[in-house]
Amino acid sequence: MTDAELARRVALGDAAAFEELVGRHLGAARRAARLVAATAEDADDAVQEALLSVWRRAETFDGSRPFRPWFLRVVLNAVRALRRGPRGRTFEALDERVAATAPGPGHDAARAELRDALARALATLPDRARLAVTLYDAEGWSHREIATALGVPEGTVRSDVHHARRALRARLGAFAEGLA
């Protein structure tokens, strides 16, 4: 079943369809939100609010358009709302946010070093470039989908991905050679 069909069912109150949509998009939404939210906790709060908005207002989704760019816009709007919110959370550095996502036991020092290097490299990029390169290379989105989600022309997305890769390569230095 396509996302659009699931969204149509959600609009009719189908809780199982909603859970299916959540399962499909939760991971990517959390990763994208972590790139732009103040904290990891804020990222999860934003994703949760975005998904509950979908549950309450699924009928506002235009089924003739792709679901995931629309949903990512809802997520990014939720992140912005949290940034403006009354809680006034401070914006911690991206490397702290990413470092807070513990990779689990058994990771070695080299992996930790690589993780920290990548976090610092990502922190030097603007939000849009971080999102563009992550959505393209990590999530497998098309340039068009990313352009729709971010509200910019496709050419801008291509440029953002290109420049973000170059910046990451320059910042990762020796680690980048290992990735080649």
């Binding site: 399962g23 999860d44 509950l52 309450r56 170059r166």
Partner: protein, 118 residues
């Protein structure tokens, strides 16, 4: 890493996913599902219509009744005015002349008895 604009950089993609993965998606998904079950959806247009239809019908009926009452009152007032005009019009003065003089002002009406005397 790759410079090809349309090629995926799989190595970088894997690295980014590892770094950004929060883990435990299932727990968050369960929390969201539980909140959704406790959250009413916004009513759809047809539900809203069904909910407000009796109120709409009642309002329309009230408006129709009020309109009918106003129309009836207007008709009664017009009939009374016409009857009064007939009573106040001196004998022998044509209605058209009387109406024209009345519209022209009170002075015209005052002259009617003079006209009548002629």
């Amino acid at each position: 890493m790759t410079d090809e604009p349309d090629a995926r950089d799989d190595a970088l993609g894997r690295l980014l996913r590892q770094h950004l993965d929060a883990g435990d998606d299932d727990a968050l998904a369960a929390r969201i599902a539980a909140r959704a079950r406790a959250t009413p959806q916004r009513p759809r247009a047809d539900e809203l219509l069904a909910r407000w239809a009796p109120v709409g019908v009642a309002a329309a009926a009230a408006l129709a009744l009020a309109g009918a009452a106003l129309t009836a009152a207007g008709l009664r007032e017009r009939a009374a005015t016409a009857a009064l005009a007939d009573v106040s019009r001196p004998a022998g003065v044509p209605r058209a002349v009387h109406d024209a003089l009345t519209r022209a002002g009170g002075g015209g009406a005052l002259l009617l008895p003079v006209l009548e005397d002629r």
